[in-house]
């Protein structure tokens, strides 16, 4: 991983070598050289395809209860065994991937919208609005948010939209900070001044000229944000405040499995490994993207 990173040459050198012309070509080339990030992307693609085609792939109905087959050990018929209600674990893991990924992606998108809007406006409009928004961000970061998330969900009820909103509201702060920093860096540049000089409206300057510069940072924050959101969803589900049964999610499967730790510890392994793996791949990909999208190409480890 480190070697791959060191091998990435500065943009000027690679341009001379001929191949990549555009920034996106350069990006793909760098990402492919970073093997860990590249394989993470492949792994994530597979996990997401499984989630997308869950109804077609799952061998059984994930919610079908067969009381005659409670807690069956893994076999050819049930590769991962069955749970306390005789439901097929493999099918539930597959069905759960759909729910967990959907919540993770939706929450990330929501936090991205809030974070980009607030961070963009704060950086662009400096002055009182900036101070106010940044104080709010600091305040949000200085309180133990997980307590608020679980209190809020216990109060308003754990429906899917509520879960997405609560996780999104609790995780926009890092995006806002990153976007603000990028906007502050870009706004004084000459081409932004030029766009103003030719009479662009302020909103157009922000959206078309300033924010695109923040895109690399936003993509990295988004990738890492999915990892956090999936972790939050599974933790909330584990406390009984996430996706409600009988629908399967990786978190609520773990919550159920907890009652059978002494007799069937394997039940905790399958959903746990899936959460862990997905989050790990997202973190690796995010780290790789950070290097690949770095415009200077010479970021120190």
């Amino acid at each position: 991983m480190k070697d791959a990173r060191a091998a990435v040459a500065p943009a000027s050198v690679t341009a001379q070598a001929g191949a990549p012309r555009s920034l996106s070509q350069l990006f793909w080339r760098r990402l492919r050289r970073n093997r860990l990030a590249f394989w993470s992307l492949i792994g994530l693609a597979i996990i997401h395809l499984v989630g997308l085609f869950a109804p077609q792939i799952q061998p059984y109905d994930p919610n079908r209860i067969e009381l005659g087959k409670k807690l069956v050990a893994p076999s050819a018929e049930h590769p991962f065994g069955t749970d306390e209600n005789g439901r097929d674990i493999l099918s539930r893991v597959i069905a759960g991937s759909r729910v967990s990924l959907a919540v993770g992606l939706a929450a990330m998108l929501f936090s991205l919208v809030i974070g980009t809007a607030l961070g963009g406006v704060a950086g662009f409009r400096s002055g009182f609005l900036d101070t106010f928004l940044m104080r709010t961000t600091d305040g949000m970061l200085s309180i133990p948010l997980f307590f608020f998330m679980l209190t809020a969900l216990a109060l308003i009820g754990s429906t899917l939209p509520n879960i997405v909103v609560v996780i999104g509201l609790a995780s926009w702060m890092s995006v806002a900070r990153v976007v603000r920093a990028e906007v502050l860096r870009t706004t004084p540049m000459d081409y932004v001044l030029a766009s103003r000089a030719i009479g662009c409206q302020e909103s157009r300057v922000l959206w078309r000229h300033v924010l695109p510069q923040a895109m690399p940072s936003i993509i990295v924050a988004a990738t890492l944000g999915v990892a956090t959101a999936i972790q939050f969803e599974s933790a909330l589900s584990f406390l009984g405040l996430g996706v409600q049964p009988p629908a399967a999610s990786w978190g609520n499967m773990l919550s159920n499995a907890r009652g059978y730790l002494w007799t069937s510890p394997l039940l905790t392994v399958y959903p746990g490994v899936m959460i862990f793996l997905t989050v790990l791949l997202y973190n690796w990909l995010g780290d790789g993207l950070r290097d690949a999208l770095d415009p200077t190409g010479t970021r120190a480890a």
Binding site: M1, K2, R135, G139, L141, S142, I143, P144, L145, F146, F147, F148, L150, T151, A152, A154, L155, I156, G157, A227, Q231, S234, A235, F238, L239, L241, L254, A257, R258, L261, W262, P265, T268, P271, G272, I275, F276, V279, L280, N283, W284, D287, A300, A301
Partner: protein, 314 residues
């Protein structure tokens, strides 16, 4: 310094007002009232009387003002469900959460700072790769699953440690017993923190080692050990303290999950129960106290700066 402290305390007060107001609004706007009003044996008249008794018939802003006024006077009210004063409930649960979080914080700094420094000074070595790899695992590990796996391993398969709770009900009780119960939850809570902190320590160590004054010291002939511990470490400690302060809220939030996994009788379990029962005074008390504790610890971290970095003057 005094002026800085006053300003920070002022900000804290504003933050607490906003936080408690938001919680209060959400709480009272949420569907379904306090569970004690849902007793099917009570007549409508008794429910109305109960509401009047608890002050729930007042408009929301008035209820909030009354609550706030009491808090300023040092009274957090009485729990709807338990009937006991909220302060007493928190008094039972808060020390347990602080013990768990404190142990986890201590464990993280003791493990992460040496690991980060070692991996920065031996960059690209086998050890560095192991630390980097392990920290990705630590960050990605879902806390509760990790906890369950440790229970299966070290409490069920190998019966070395208790699987949960805080005290042994039959056996000998005392500090040693509590310490044994603390081992697994503290490790679980510390892991993600160790990973984050080790990564920050590594990168700030690398950037400090690249500074001019280090090169000057080296060219003067300062030995490697002295260079590291006398020259570099002092400057590395500053960002580390910042990050520790930033990680603190997450640590205390994470304690809520760890407590549930290990049946640790802390603020997390109290918060979940209170929220489900719509126990308004307890919800408000827990929210307020846990936020104040975390925000004030952050303030202490910031004050520590002054001692670490003589350039900073408030």
């Amino acid at each position: 310094m005094a002026k800085y402290l006053v300003r920070r305390l002022g900000q804290t007060v504003i933050l607490m007002i906003v936080v408690t107001m938001a919680t209060f609004l959400l709480m009272t706007a949420a569907p379904g009232g306090p569970s004690i009003l849902l007793d099917p044996n009570m007549t409508a008249e008794q429910v109305a009387q109960m509401k009047r008794l608890l002050g729930l018939d007042q408009p929301i802003w008035k209820q909030y003002t009354i609550w706030m006024w009491r808090v300023v006077g040092g009274n957090l009210g009485a729990s709807f469900s338990a009937g006991t004063p909220v302060a007493e409930l928190i008094g039972h649960h808060l020390p347990n959460t602080l013990l768990l979080s404190g142990a986890a914080m201590l464990l993280s700094t003791l493990a992460a700072i040496p690991a980060g420094i070692l991996s920065a000074t031996r960059r690209h070595s086998r050890l560095d790769q192991v630390v980097t790899f392990a920290s990705f695992f630590g960050i990605s590990m879902p806390v509760f699953w990790y906890g369950l796996m440790l229970i299966v391993l070290f409490a069920i398969r190998l019966p070395w440690l208790p699987p949960g709770g805080m005290r042994d009900l039959q056996g000998p009780s005392g500090p040693l017993d509590v310490a044994l119960h603390l081992v697994l939850p503290a490790i679980v809570l510390a892991t993600a923190n160790i990973a984050q902190l080790a990564r920050y320590t590594r990168s700030s160590m690398i950037s400090v080692m690249g500074e001019d004054y280090i090169r000057t010291a080296r060219s003067k002939g300062v030995g490697a050990r002295s260079l590291l511990y006398r020259h570099a470490l002092k400057n590395v400690m500053i960002p580390i303290v910042t990050v520790t302060g930033l990680l603190l809220p997450r640590l205390v939030g994470g304690a809520a999950i760890t407590e549930t996994v290990f049946n640790w009788p802390g603020m997390g379990s109290l918060a979940v129960r209170a929220a489900f029962e719509r126990d308004y005074p307890t919800i408000m008390g827990v929210t307020l106290v846990i936020s104040v504790v975390v925000v004030l610890s952050n303030l202490i971290v910031d004050v520590l700066y002054v001692y670490l970095d003589p350039r900073i003057r408030y």
